[in-house]
């Protein structure tokens, strides 16, 4: 039994929201809300009410990046200073804390930002080929709801979409 990928495009976010709410309410047996992908032109944080809380690990990466920047930065500076003893000291220790704190702070931010961005790219799956089921209307004003369901459930799903005044339905056979 082949799997079908179905995307319904809604002109109104409320409609899409209602459709997903129906899926969540198990209106179609065997189609889980976890399989829903929402595609929207703007951010809709309220969708979590129906989609459930899905994880995003960016903050952890950020923390790690910042910690790495902190330790790496300080050790890097300190070890460089400890081998380059002719550098001016003016009676202060070889490894001076004030200036190293300033630089470490900058490195903390640099690595924090870098890790954040990397984790965004990784976490959001950026840089990969776009889904074939993509409508340019999504970037304009329509909201897409994408599911991958068994062939047997496809018709029921389409009906559900139609019930919520879907504008257009796209479908393909999953490979």
């Amino acid at each position: 039994m082949s799997k079908h990928r179905i995307m319904g495009l809604f002109s109104d976010f409320e409609q899409a929201f209602a459709a997903i709410a129906d899926i969540r309410a198990n209106k179609i047996h065997g189609v889980s809300v976890d399989d829903v992908t929402l595609k929207s032109p703007i951010e809709h944080p309220e969708i979590e009410e129906v989609l459930g809380e899905r994880p995003a690990h960016v903050p952890k990466f950020t923390l790690m990046g910042a910690l790495f920047g902190l330790t790496f930065g300080f050790l890097f500076l300190a070890s460089a200073q400890a081998t380059f003893l002719v550098q001016p000291q003016g009676g202060k220790p070889v490894v001076p804390l004030p200036s190293n704190f300033v630089l470490t702070y900058e490195l903390l931010i640099l690595f924090g930002v870098a890790f954040t961005v990397i984790s965004f790219f990784i976490g959001a799956g950026m840089g990969r080929k776009r889904d074939t089921l993509y409508s340019e209307m999504v970037s304009l004003d329509q909201v897409g709801v994408l599911l991958e369901v068994d062939e047997s459930k496809a018709q029921a799903l389409k009906d559900l979409f139609k019930e919520h005044k879907v504008v257009e339905i796209r479908e393909e056979v999953a490979r």
Partner: protein, 467 residues
């Protein structure tokens, strides 16, 4: 009179159309502007080439005034770069959604002024070809930069800031780039396809996007503050009279925000006029920006006063001498001009009539930035020319070569900006949509509440005057 920040009924397709069309079909004026910028850059490039081949002496720098306009302009551009961060990051965090139509070009301004600013420390070096010695790289010679030097800090700070703000700009632009991709043809299509990194607006992407954007905003605020504090420590860490001032970091940050906001007003008016962005860059938003600028101007003036007072009541005779020289000496015309432009002129922003009059605001914002540029010059030059050792007092007018480079830097910034507005959307489409969406929703809810209260709710209405 328009009071709403934005027309809530505007069609999303209209937003797309307006913004995308601003990126196409450059008019004659655009090409003229590009030509002017290129000519200015050519001026500066020729000057820098001259300096490179003959030596810094042609700048008419001298013992003991060894920095001159280059470093002053460097601080000016660094300061300019703070606008984007302020509007975007701070206002983002405090959920001030009126930032949305204007933050994009402000962020671009941040990045480009940093790219301009970063050139100045390079070209002011006597041996600019050895610039890379400031970078901490491993070499078999076993030598490192001096991590105690505020100039080395500058290097770290500017690199971090440039990287972060460019990423911030780029990340925030990804959904818009996807819009562009979906509407473009030819080379633009390819470009946006690559740059949008496969953005499809999925819930997963939005989810990560939201957190990333927020976190970066959180990073950028302290970063921006630290960058200008570090730039100020180029001066504050020295022992020179007039530089060795504790209040320099906040003073610099305030000055930076000030000039940045003023520049936003300038560019706001230019973009609004040329791209007919009246629907997005509305007068109420301009007014908000103006008010913000006014507040910062007052903060800056206050810090200025603090600096004078601290010097005046302190017992550093040399610093007093420098201050007095600023008041009365060879630099006094520029100093008083700076005070006028920086502290008196911003009162124009306090009047609603003037705020809403675009030509006035345009001129005022330009003059504010002239004042801010003078401020930087007044920080650098008087102290160098008239510091501790009276035998080394000397004032020489900067040479045309110096002026040419300063002049050219505006061309360089202008060119970057001109390219930007034609290649990238200078108004954030998706955020304007969000703004419209949320405001309309909020409006409808308000309406619903009022309706609800009046019809079905028996509770005493708050707005009914009691007997």
């Amino acid at each position: 009179m328009q009071t709403k920040d934005i027309n809530e009924q505007i069609k999303w397709a209209q937003i797309n159309k307006d913004v995308l069309s601003s990126m196409e079909n450059p008019r004659m004026a655009y090409w003229v502007a590009v030509a002017v910028c290129v000519a200015m850059i050519a001026c500066a490039a020729a000057a820098v080439g001259y300096v490179y081949t003959t030596g810094q002496g042609v700048l008419d720098l001298y013992w003991p005034e060894m920095w001159g306009l280059f470093i002053a302009t460097f601080i000016f551009w660094i300061g300019m770069s703070h606008s984007g961060t302020l509007l975007s990051a701070i206002l983002h965090i405090v959920h001030a959604d009126w930032r949305k139509p204007i933050y994009r070009f402000a962020e671009a301004m941040t990045t480009f002024s940093l790219m301009t600013a970063g050139l100045f420390p390079i070209i002011h070096l006597g041996r600019m070809w050895n610039l890379y010695w400031v970078l901490p790289y491993v070499s078999d010679r076993g030598i490192w930069p001096n991590f105690r030097s505020p100039l080395a800090w500058d290097c770290f700070a500017i690199f971090t800031y440039l990287t972060s703000s460019a990423l911030f700009l780029f990340i925030g632009m990804i959904p818009d780039l996807a819009i562009c991709r979906d509407n473009a043809k030819g080379w633009r299509k390819k470009l946006y396809t690559v740059l949008s990194l496969g953005w499809a607006g999925t819930d997963r992407q939005w989810r990560h996007f939201r957190k990333t954007y927020l976190l970066m905003a959180c990073f950028l605020i302290p970063l921006a503050v630290s960058v200008h504090s570090i730039v100020s420590s180029d001066f504050a860490m020295s022992i020179m009279p007039g530089w060795h001032v504790t209040s320099f970091p906040p003073y610099f940050v305030a000055g930076a925000l000030y000039s940045g906001c003023a520049a936003i007003i300038t560019l706001f008016i230019i973009l609004r006029y040329f791209f007919r962005f009246e629907e997005y860059m509305t007068i109420p938003i301009l007014e908000k920006t103006c008010k913000l600028t006014f507040v910062i101007a007052m903060a800056w003036s206050y810090l200025n006063l603090i600096e004078f007072a601290a010097t005046w009541y302190g017992h550093d005779a040399a610093a007093k001498e420098v201050l007095w020289d600023k008041f009365t000496g060879p630099f006094s015309p520029y100093f008083w001009a700076m005070l006028f432009f920086g502290s008196v002129l911003p009162f124009a922003l306090a009047f609603e009539k003037l705020r809403r009059h675009l030509p006035t605001m345009f001129v005022v914002s330009l003059l504010l930035n002239v004042g801010m540029w003078l401020e930087r010059w007044m920080i650098v030059s008087p102290t160098l020319s008239l510091s501790y050792h009276p035998f080394a007092w000397k004032v020489v007018w900067p040479s045309m070569v110096q002026w040419a480079v300063v002049f050219g830097s505006f061309g360089w910034f202008g060119l970057l900006f001109l390219v930007f507005v034609k290649v990238f959307p200078s108004v954030s489409m998706y955020e304007v949509k969000e703004m419209v969406y949320h405001r309309r929703r909020a409006h409808e809810e308000d309406q619903a509440k009022i309706f609800h209260r009046r019809t079905s709710d028996p509770q005493p209405a708050i707005d009914t005057p009691s007997a």
